[in-house]
């Protein structure tokens, strides 16, 4: 196998580069898909509807509303935030700005009820139900954020799968052409080996190993580049995604990604080399 690679280094380089490109795409889209899924999960776990009460809303009315909401079966969790709790949250969020802290008291902030729905499709119904309650002044819900993220994630997923599929196909064809060229180049040697009793497997084995080698090296380089970029961009992403626990990516994720890509690389390498062997070695 080493002799095959050593004797035609440019073909070997081309095979490794196309594999690298494929696995760079695999790495980037895997990171994007998993990352955006985590962002969606984060938003889904947050209160999805917040009902702000009027200042004169009675506690027994609020309790009645909670009971009614629980009875709908559409609510997974509820949390009442009193005026004092709202002030604490406000102070925590603006602790670095004393001027903003001085101007606000508990009376200014409304009490609220944070509600998470079992299903995103129930959010409009819950929102309408809350708005119809006389104690509720305003209803805010994150349907649009989650829906937009879900749309983006689905789009990334579809584009990713299509691109990875297309690149995998291109890799298989290019690899099989490169290995086919190598087989053609060794036509005389193969004929001699067949005539002196070499089995088809004995002749094919170095070419299959070569395919696996190109796949694995390409996968490693692709993974290395994508992981390096992600690590380098982690401080920037931490600022951008403040509060959303996506970055830093745990070390086991990098290793799992590498392991998965190496398995895929072996499959692609075997498939493309067997395609070439079947076509050129009779």
């Amino acid at each position: 196998m080493w002799n095959h690679i050593r004797r035609s280094p440019y073909q070997a380089l081309a095979a490794i580069l196309i594999m690298m490109l494929t696995f760079l795409a695999v790495s980037v889209f895997t990171i994007l898909i998993i990352g955006s899924s985590k962002v969606i999960t984060y938003f889904e776990s947050k209160p999805q509807v917040t009902a702000f009460f009027r200042d004169d809303a009675k506690q027994d009315v609020i309790e009645g509303l909670k009971t009614d909401l629980a009875a709908t079966g559409k609510v997974s969790s509820m949390k009442f935030v009193s005026k004092d709790d709202a002030l604490k949250i406000y102070r925590e969020q603006n602790k670095n700005d004393p001027l903003l802290l001085e101007l606000v008291t508990a009376d200014v902030l409304p009490s609220s009820l944070e509600i998470s729905a079992n299903n995103l499709q129930d959010l409009p119904d819950l929102s309408v139900y809350l708005k119809n309650n006389p104690a509720v002044q305003e209803v805010v819900y994150q349907k649009d954020v989650v829906a937009a993220l879900t749309t983006w994630t689905n789009a990334i997923r579809i584009i990713g799968i299509l691109l990875i599929g297309l690149l995998s196909l291109v890799s298989i064809f290019i690899m099989s052409i490169i290995i086919g060229m190598k087989i053609s180049h060794k036509k005389d040697e193969i004929e001699i080996m067949q005539l002196i009793g070499a089995t088809k497997w004995y002749i094919s084995n170095p070419f299959v190993m070569e395919g696996i080698f190109y796949g694995m090296v390409g996968a490693f380089v692709g993974w290395f580049v994508a992981s390096g970029v992600l690590l380098a961009a982690t401080p920037l992403l931490e600022t951008f995604l403040r509060g959303i626990p996506v970055v830093p990516v745990p070390w086991w994720f990098y290793l799992a990604l590498l392991a998965g890509e190496l398995v895929l690389a072996v499959i692609l390498g075997i498939f493309s080399s067997i395609l070439a062997v079947m076509r050129y070695i009779k």
Partner: protein, 261 residues
């Protein structure tokens, strides 16, 4: 040991390579296949290693049914039958030692065992000092010796030699045939295709004549050689085959007479 019955080979182009060949070769025999270029010598040898299949007829080598041999068993057959190819088929980018090593590697021999066998073979063909050279550095006769060594690597019971003296001067050609005779004396069956009648005459082995794919003579058979109806017979070669048969028969009669005495 080798049995061909009504073997006919018609190529895709419609040309008849071999026509109704019936041939029996015993274990340990040395047989010359003679005939002009295109007479079917190489085709016959190719049939014996299943490089090609006959159009009709049966071929047996020992217990092996060559025609019905499954694809997966062909490598096994080719390990049992050594071949010296007309164009030698040596790998030009490998040393002499590596060329001889190839069949041993293919057969899965252990590295040390294979290396010892290569040294043994190089010594047997008188090429020990050329082990590290490349084919391009050797003469025609030396290359033939390398091809013989490679063919002998797996100690085959049968050795097929396709024009092994084809491009050699007379002295070198006789050297090669002497070497083959020595191998034959150890019990290896040898079938040598040649059109060098000097060698054929000198060695007094069995001679099978081919012309346009038909068997036109066999010095082993007591009956007259088969007559060919082909218009373009190589008369000289046919005469030589007949002469060889006569010489061989005379010699055999003498030997039988001595034995009786």
């Amino acid at each position: 040991m080798i049995h061909l019955q009504n073997v006919t080979k018609v190529f895709g182009t419609g040309v008849t390579g071999l026509a109704d060949i019936n041939l029996e070769i015993d274990k340990g025999e040395f047989v010359f296949l003679v005939g002009k270029t295109g007479s079917g010598k190489t085709t016959l040898l190719k049939l014996l290693i299943r490089e090609t299949l006959p159009t009709t007829g049966d071929i047996m080598i020992g217990e092996w049914d060559i025609v019905g041999l499954p694809e997966k068993s062909i490598p096994l057959l080719r390990k049992k039958v050594g071949v010296i190819f007309q164009d030698l088929k040596l790998l030009m980018d490998r040393t002499i030692g590596e060329n001889i090593l190839l069949p041993l590697q293919v057969a899965g021999r252990a590295a040390q065992d294979a290396a010892n066998r290569v040294s043994e073979l190089l010594e047997e063909v008188g090429m020990s000092e050329h082990k590290e050279k490349f084919p391009i550095q050797l003469s025609g006769g030396e290359l033939q010796r390398v091809a013989i060594a490679r063919a002998l690597a797996l100690s085959p019971e049968i050795l097929l030699a396709d024009e092994p003296t084809g491009n050699l001067d007379e002295a070198t050609a006789f050297d090669i045939v002497d070497l083959l005779s020595r191998i034959n004396s150890h019990g290896t069956t040898i079938i040598m295709a040649t059109h060098n009648m000097d060698i054929v005459k000198k060695l007094h082995h069995r001679v099978v004549g081919l012309d346009s794919g038909k068997m036109v003579g066999d010095t082993k058979k007591s009956s007259k050689p088969q007559e060919t109806t082909h218009k373009h017979e190589d008369k000289d070669e046919k005469e030589e085959v007949k002469e060889e048969k006569k010489d061989h028969d005379d010699k055999k009669e003498k030997e039988e007479g001595k034995t009786k005495e």
